[in-house]
């Protein structure tokens, strides 16, 4: 009755609990919605505040620039304009550089905090997006880029009206970073800004911005960017690290940027979780009260039902005279009366049933016995998987019992012989004995023919043909027999024999039964065979695995491996002992031993054909001595002496062959003479091969260790050398040059003409050495992959101009014409301007150096997405054979004229590497005596630092 009690309680509690849960869920839902709305609202406000700050930051700059951005301003005198720009720089600390372009897009004035101020450069910048954008839309805001790799900047351009030109300002965005990283929402909230293409502009984790992270992959960014006009938003989403967040955003219309403020959902939902916990506590309390009330009510129902149960139980257990007594006056009382009536009716009909049951029982027991026999055999098979004897005993006993014979036996075939294997019965038998296999006996005939042989009376057979069988029958005193072959895949592996002392045929049923038993015998024998094969294979594999494991654990020392190999060889090959010897020059050394005979680890002997291990090593073949006594004493003197001394008579030596030569032997010895089986030889050869692996392993490992140690030392020396170059060599050299210059300039008193000549030579050689050191440092940096380009926008025209300025005096000194051709309207490139200047300086410097008369000219062209910069001279030219070589390190065209010119021979090599880092290439065309043209093909936008640094 506990069941009913429980049901009542559960129903009641369930009802009350259901109402409470529904109530709490509804409540939670509204709390959740309200909380979420509030949280999003706070985030949106923060985002909007940040957007406004950024917008006003930008608008303020725009307003400030607006003071000068008037049409008539452009016509003011230079000094006035420069004054205005300087004032602008003072008023707006975020601006680093201001450039005035006239209405054709030519540069008129450039004022910078860092670079040199330039007046009237005239560079054509009309195709730059800043100019085009400002002319079209009055104000232009460029994308974010990084100066010096870590300083965020963007370009802003304001038009001075249609005829006034444009002012371009480079604006440092660090302030925006500060605004963004100061935004805090809750504990885990943060803000970030993306531009109109979804690229990260500002983020508290600055390194994300510096890596140029694309935020398009985030659902919230993609949604807003994609449906910019519809104002679609996504509130529940995930951030870059996959954490679920609540996201709100506000856009900065002027820049097309979007400010996101995000809060981890787990934090935003904390109040909801708290409300949930409160609801849960209420629920538990409600359920306890409901449970108590339900228990009280159910108890009043259950007491009479329990009385009914007890009464029914007593009637059910045979007490048919028992009657129930319940007076509750309801359905329960009626039920009790019904029980009482049923009990009476039962009492009457009970007596008639008992007789019918007994008859059926007998019929079943007979058929059971045969099944029992079969199952006995199967059980014996399963209990004895390794040993076939017990199974055969059971089969024989069962065959004799069920086939009604005097006697039963099992005979097995072993090659060309028969072996008595099992027997049950009073007659004599030949268990354990061997007989030849032939058709003369009934058993032999059954096995040879693979058929059942039935002999109802032995004396009725042909006395000539069956003489042997008849003689055997008389000897063992039987008259009739039945032989069933045990067939495996059509071939008999033995037979089972029934014998009777009186003549008489066996029934078909007996024949059939015997054949069944024969088949079961086969199963048992097969089982045992497979099992032992499996076990042996497994043991061998285990041994091999052991050896391999030790090999892998002991890469530096061969001894543990040899020890395991020796143990395994002894275990599997079965001899008195095993010995492993290694070759060391002209000697062999005993390295491992296991077994009963004596051997001395570490003993050395000369390699000698008169003993078998020596012979195995010299011939690199297996030597097998089945009996030492049979050896020729002239050939095997050593072996004979040893066998007498140690007391062994048979031996097997297998060489361990590495690359055609034996590195040692593994040898088995036995105290009894007798050949080793083919299987033992094969196994020992396998173990020898494993030992070889270990020996090779150790050798290679040692070699590699030695090599890597040498490499490490070499690389240490190299780094040390480079460190010295940079700090210990350059610094004093600089001082040497400086002092020499001062002496030459007469700062320490007058210098004689002779001394001045010497000083000039010191100075010249010092400078050459400094150049060389700088070049080697550059080159080694490039080779180590440490040279990373500082990509920033550059004007190729400016680079050419600065190279011209720096080399002008050199050209003038040699009386050369130095010029440049730069077409207008070249786009702004992206690359490392300083490094590119270095390349051009090198090319132009070379050209001047190797040209004695005529001109040197730089030409710039735009070809597709690349600049083509050529340096053309009218110098000696370079022979075709040398043209490929000059870009290699320390290569100069070697003739007397170039040797006079000096130079490090590294400049072109460094130039080539720098151009290649920009994703470009450099080549040369030249004809001897007519001058050379070096051409650099340079992508306008160099690939970003990460990929170019490889």
């Amino acid at each position: 009755m506990r069941g009913l009690f429980l049901k009542y309680v559960v129903l009641f509690v369930g009802l009350v609990g259901g109402v409470l849960i529904f109530n709490a869920a509804l409540d939670l839902y509204f709390v959740y919605q309200e909380n979420r709305r509030a949280s999003i609202e706070v985030q949106r406000e923060k985002a909007e505040a940040a957007a406004q700050r950024i917008e006003s930051f930008v608008r303020e700059i725009e307003r400030q620039i607006g003071w000068v951005a008037q049409a008539q301003w452009a016509s003011l005198p230079t000094d006035q304009r420069r004054f205005d720009y300087v004032r602008l720089l003072r008023q707006v600390p975020a601006i680093t550089e201001l450039v005035q372009l006239d209405r054709e897009g030519r540069e008129q004035l450039s004022v910078s905090r860092l670079a040199m101020d330039v007046v009237g450069a005239g560079t054509d910048r009309s195709t730059e997006t800043a100019f085009v954008g400002a002319m079209a839309h009055k104000v232009y805001f460029g994308p974010v880029y990084f100066r010096q790799g870590s300083e965020p900047y963007f370009t802003m351009a304001v038009s001075h009206g249609a005829r006034g030109g444009v002012t371009v300002a480079e604006v440092n965005l660090k302030l925006i970073w500060d605004v963004v990283s100061q935004i805090k929402v809750g504990r885990g909230g943060y803000a970030y800004v993306v531009d109109r293409l979804g690229r990260l502009v500002a983020h508290p984790d600055i390194s994300l911005v510096l890596r140029g992270t694309e935020m398009n992959g985030l659902a919230q960014v993609a949604t807003v960017l994609h449906d910019r006009d519809t104002g679609a938003t996504l509130l529940d989403t995930r951030n870059l690290s996959g954490v679920s967040v609540l996201s709100a955003h506000a856009s900065i219309p002027a820049l097309g940027w979007i400010v996101y403020v995000e809060l981890p959902t787990s934090e935003a939902e904390l109040p909801v979780i708290n409300a949930g916990l409160r609801a849960l506590a209420l629920l538990v309390l409600g359920l306890i009260i409901a449970g108590l009330a339900a228990a009280l009510l159910a108890r009043r129902m259950v007491v009479p039902i329990r009385a009914l149960q007890v009464g029914a139980q007593r009637i059910g257990s045979g007490e048919l005279g028992h009657r129930l007594d319940i007076r509750t006056g309801d359905e329960l009382e009626a039920l009790a009366d019904q029980f009482n009536k049923t009990a009476e009716a039962l009492e009457d009909s009970y007596a008639t049933l008992e007789h019918r049951v007994e008859d059926r029982t007998r019929e079943l027991s007979e058929s059971l016995e045969q099944q029992t026999a079969t199952s006995e055999i199967l059980r014996a098979i399963s209990q004895s998987p390794t040993d076939v004897r017990p199974v055969l005993d059971v089969v024989v006993a069962a065959a004799r019992r069920f086939c009604g014979a005097t006697d039963a036996a099992i005979v097995l075939r072993d090659g060309e012989e028969l072996v008595g294997a099992a027997h049950d019965g009073p007659l004599s038998a030949w268990v354990g004995e061997r007989r030849p296999l032939d058709r003369a006996s009934t058993t032999g005939r059954a096995i040879v023919d693979g058929r059942t042989v039935h002999t109802p009376d032995i004396d009725a057979l042909d006395p000539v043909e069956f003489a042997a069988a008849i003689a055997m029958a008389h000897h063992h005193k039987w008259r009739a027999n039945l032989v069933a072959p045990m067939l495996r895949e059509g071939t008999a592996i033995g037979c089972i024999v029934l014998r009777k002392t009186e003549p008489g045929a066996f029934t078909d049923r007996q024949v059939e039964l015997l054949e069944t038993f024969a088949a079961q015998g086969v199963i048992a024998i097969e089982n045992a065979r497979l099992f032992s094969e499996l076990r042996e294979a497994l043991e061998q594999q285990t041994a091999t695995a052991d050896v391999l494991r030790v090999i892998s654990q002991s890469p530096t020392d061969v001894r543990p491996v040899l020890k395991v190999v020796a143990e395994a060889a002894l275990r599997f090959c079965g001899a008195s002992d095993v010995m492993i010897a290694l070759r060391e020059g002209e000697e062999i050394v005993t390295a491992a031993h296991d077994g009963a005979l004596h051997a001395e680890i570490g003993r050395r002997r000369a390699i000698d054909r008169s003993n078998i291990s020596g012979r195995a090593i010299l011939d690199a073949t297996t030597i097998h001595i089945p009996d030492a006594a049979a050896l020729d004493p002239r050939d095997f003197a050593g072996t004979l002496a040893m066998s007498r001394e140690r007391g062994w008579h048979a031996a097997l030596a297998v060489p361990m062959v590495v690359e055609g030569a034996a590195a040692g032997t593994i040898m088995l010895r036995k105290t009894e003479p007798g050949p080793f089986t083919a299987r033992q030889i094969e196994l020992l050869e396998t173990f020898a091969a494993q030992a070889v692996i270990a020996i090779e392993n150790v050798r290679l490992f040692t070699e590699i260790q030695e090599k890597s140690r040498q490499l490490e030392i070499a690389s240490q020396h190299k780094s040390q050398f480079l460190a010295n170059m940079s700090h210990e060599l350059r610094t004093p050299l600089n001082a040497i040059i400086g002092y020499t210059e001062m002496m030459a300039d007469g700062l320490y008193g007058d210098v004689s003409e002779k001394a001045a000549g010497v000083l000039e030579r010191v100075q010249k050689n010092g400078r050459h050495l400094l150049d060389l050191i700088n070049d080697v440092l550059d080159l080694s940096k490039i080779e180590a992959g440490q040279l990373v380009l500082a990509l920033e926008p550059y004007s190729v025209a400016e680079i050419v101009a600065s190279v011209l300025a720096a080399t002008e005096s050199l050209a003038k000194a040699k009386g050369l014409v130095l010029g440049s051709t730069v077409p207008p309207g070249l786009p702004t490139g992206t690359g490392d301007a300083r490094r590119l200047t270095q390349v051009l300086l090198n090319l132009v410097g070379n050209a001047i150096k190797f040209t004695d008369s005529g001109s040197v000219e730089m030409r710039v062209e735009r070809v597709g997405d690349a600049f083509e910069v050529s340096v053309v001279d009218t110098g000696f030219g370079i022979a075709p054979a040398d043209q490929a070589k000059i870009f290699e390190e320390f290569q100069q065209v070697d003739n007397s004229s170039t040797r006079k010119k000096g130079g490090t021979g590294l400049g072109l090599s460094i130039s080539r590497r720098i151009v290649e880092l920009h994703g470009g290439r450099i080549d040369v065309q030249s004809e001897e005596g007519k001058g050379s043209t070096f051409r650099i093909t340079l992508p306008i936008h160099a690939p970003s630092a990460g990929s170019a640094g490889q």
């Binding site: 300087v86 040199m116 870590s150 660090k174 610094t731 400086g738 600065s802």
Partner: protein, 313 residues
């Protein structure tokens, strides 16, 4: 000039027991050149971040003086005290600090990220990060500014600290700037502080229109020597103009040191140097000493004055 100050507060008696129980972070400060112009703003910036000297932070301040001779030994002994962060100011100190440790985080202030062996400024590899002011480029700009005051400049002197590796880059950059403006440059290397008077006299004898002084040569002595030789002089730091130099153009050291202190603070709070991108100074100040200008009889044009952030009377 060598000085060692372990600035453990003398008021240790006021410590609460719990404050002593937890380890007080230790910040080593290594500087080559004149120490105070860097050390004082750094200490001030740390105080602004809420660090109380001797109570929530211990400073170990060492300066090698302007010849920087013993700086390697100084760096080693500084690291031996197991500081939580080392601040290294100027090239020689940075190189020495790098040699002394590959484990202790180093925050540097110097002329270029290469001095710190950093090739990726966005993600510095190894144990150091910091702030750099592109001083060699600023110096080139400084020469242009100088030429605006003295348009007749044909020969210009550059005083280099020949033991400071930065002297190589500085000379290269100023040479380029001078060549572009048609000015001949006279580099004057200085090996030890004792050579300074000779160097200034030599420059004056050669007839330079002005000199530029490498900051690691110090400010007070050099400004005074320039005045004594009647040489208009330029350097990178405000302190130089205050001490009597004609003008200074360079990143505000107060700003630089505030950025350095910000990184020190973040590292003490668990950040790794590799996560802190190398910053570049973004504010540059032009300071002119009007008194010196008058003494030397130099008129400062109004366009130039528009640019000046501070005039010292």
């Amino acid at each position: 000039m060598r000085r060692r100050a372990l600035l453990l507060s003398a008021g240790a008696a006021g410590f609460s027991a719990s404050a002593v129980a937890q380890k007080i972070p230790r910040v080593g400060f290594l500087v080559s050149g004149e120490a105070d112009p860097s050390w004082l703003p750094f200490r001030k910036a740390m105080a602004e971040l809420g660090y109380i000297e001797g109570r929530t932070v211990v400073f170990d301040n060492r300066d090698a003086g302007i010849n920087g001779g013993a700086i390697d030994a100084l760096a080693r002994s500084l690291v031996a005290e197991q500081p939580d962060v080392v601040v290294a100011v100027l090239s020689q100190a940075i190189v020495a600090a790098r040699k002394a440790t590959q484990d202790v985080p180093i925050v540097f202030f110097g002329a270029a990220p290469e001095i710190g062996g950093i090739s990726n400024v966005a993600r510095p590899e190894g144990n150091l990060t910091g702030v750099f002011s592109p001083s060699a480029i600023v110096a080139a700009k400084g020469l242009q500014l100088f030429a605006e005051i003295r348009r007749e400049t044909r020969l210009f002197g550059l005083l280099l600290n020949s033991r400071d590796p930065f002297s190589v880059a500085l000379r290269r950059e100023v040479e380029l700037s001078a060549a572009a403006q048609g000015i001949r440059l006279l580099p004057v290397p200085v090996e030890v502080p004792g050579d300074l008077p000779d160097a200034f006299e030599a420059a004056a004898r050669a007839g330079v229109a002005g000199v530029m002084v490498q900051p690691s040569l110090g400010f007070d002595v050099t400004a005074e020597l320039a005045l004594r030789n009647r040489l208009p002089a330029v350097s990178f730091r405000r302190e130089f103009a205050v001490a009597g130099g004609l003008m200074s153009y360079g990143a505000s050291q107060a700003d630089n040191m505030r950025a350095v202190a910000g990184y020190v603070d973040r590292i003490l709070k668990g950040a790794r140097p590799a996560d802190l991108p190398v910053q570049q100074s973004s504010r540059f100040e032009l300071v002119v000493n009007q008194r010196t200008a008058r003494t030397l009889g130099i008129d400062i044009p109004p366009l130039f004055l528009a640019r000046v952030d501070e005039v010292i009377e």
